[in-house]
């Protein structure tokens, strides 16, 4: 019992020393949330309608969306999406975005729920919105094309 107690004391002292030794360095590190960069070509890997996964049943292979550095987007072809063709995009907050604003060439503006998670080590872009009736919700999950390269 005595041996165990002395062991614990030694560990505590060593731990405290290490902790205090790093204190100045730790406090000098400042972290800043990175700006979210969504530029690139994104391919739909999952599509959910009202929580039901339609990915296995629908051919999503050609469903791509490109976000360019000049603030424009383009959709690969006519797809079930909020907007068609090309337009401009903007995150509501580049550091802490929770929505993506898409403005078509016809100046129609759509605000969609935005998430930018990392799933299984791969960055995903998740957009949630209604296509037709507001009672129906669609969640599109994209992955960057050629993300591994």
């Amino acid at each position: 019992m005595k041996f165990n107690l002395s062991k614990i004391w030694i560990l505590l002292i060593v731990g405290f020393t290490l902790f205090t030794a790093c204190e100045d360095d730790m406090s000098s590190i400042t972290s800043q949330e990175a700006f979210k960069d969504i530029t690139g070509s994104w391919q739909v890997i999952q599509l959910k309608r009202n929580g039901e996964d339609l990915s296995e049943r629908m051919n999503l292979h050609d469903f791509r969306m490109d976000f360019k550095e000049d603030g424009t987007y383009s959709l690969a072809e006519k797809l079930p999406f909020l907007t068609q063709g090309t337009g401009n995009y903007e995150l509501n907050d580049p550091q802490y975005p929770f929505s993506l604003i898409l403005t078509s060439e016809q100046q129609e503006s759509h605000t969609v729920k935005f998430q930018f998670p990392v799933v299984d080590g791969r960055r995903q872009l998740s957009l949630t919105f209604s296509l037709g009736c507001t009672s129906n919700s669609y969640e599109y999950n994209f992955e960057r094309v050629n993300q591994d390269q």
Binding site: M1, N4, L5, I8, L47, R49, N50, L54, R57, M58, K78, L79, P80, L131, G132, C133, T134, S135, N136, Y138
Partner: protein, 329 residues
Amino acid sequence: MRKPIQNLIYLYIIIGSAVTLLLMHCGLKALTVTVPQQAKAGEQVTFVMHSGAEPRIEGSGKYTTQLVAGMMVPKSWNARKNAVLTFTSPKGNGTMRLIADSEIEPVSGLSWHQAAKKMFGIGPNLVDDFEWIIYRSTQSYTFANNEDINFDVKVECHVGHENMLVRLGFYVGSSIENLRPNDTDYKKFTFSNVLEVVDGEGDLIDFVNPQLGTVQPVKSSDNDIITLSFNSGVSSTVLDGQQDIYLHVSAFDEKDERIATVNIQQDKSKLIKSAGKKFLIDLWPRGYFELSKDQQITRLEYFFTDLSGEKVVGYGNTDEPFKYTFRCE
């Protein structure tokens, strides 16, 4: 050093077991409901849930909780805005309050309404266009041992404007127990017999009986992705035994003029085999019919066929087409 910690753990286990034993037999009586067989569209109807409490608490222990009650109704009824829940019991009467969406049910991490939907589902109904709505009494009530009571929860609600056949869901529970998956004592739920809503708008929405052809979601526009299903197990048809089922479909505009038809057997129109004898096809109508921006579809007429296109099944296994009208409300 380890002994006090071990003793503390034993103490927690003993206290936990004691609490479990004290409340082990405490719970709610089985839930039954009184629901009319028929109602007119838009009419206000009354549903009554009958249940009770059976507190079995040893010693001088007390059990204090609030009554929780809820129901599952079609979304189109808009029950959140028009339903009123009241309860009567020997311990007091009162009006129940809708639990806010922002309040999280602790076990599931979802709102109470979402948690109830996840836990109780849609019961015997076959098509999902329902919402669970959960209410709670404004006051707490304290029970002593063997203080058995019966209580009724009355729901007054408008049934909406659509013709339908539906089985409604009901739930009663105890606020402090939440919606624990393994609990069978403190949450009681049931589904009603069939309620028929008549004299309403549009085609009959049959949530209850198996249909040869169904469409999901029940409410959609031509810019939604819809799923058309062919349930070949419902009745014997000329397509029995066929492995390849195709869709023949026509789209109509607001003037009820046919604006597009896809009636050839190709990959685009082929249904996917699903569970059992079910086939389905997911399509985005605006893309499927290659509509221009100014065109709009108000309804569809469709049949299911074999590869040759000669064997055709329509509504109710007749020559009449299945029909689906796009509407959001």
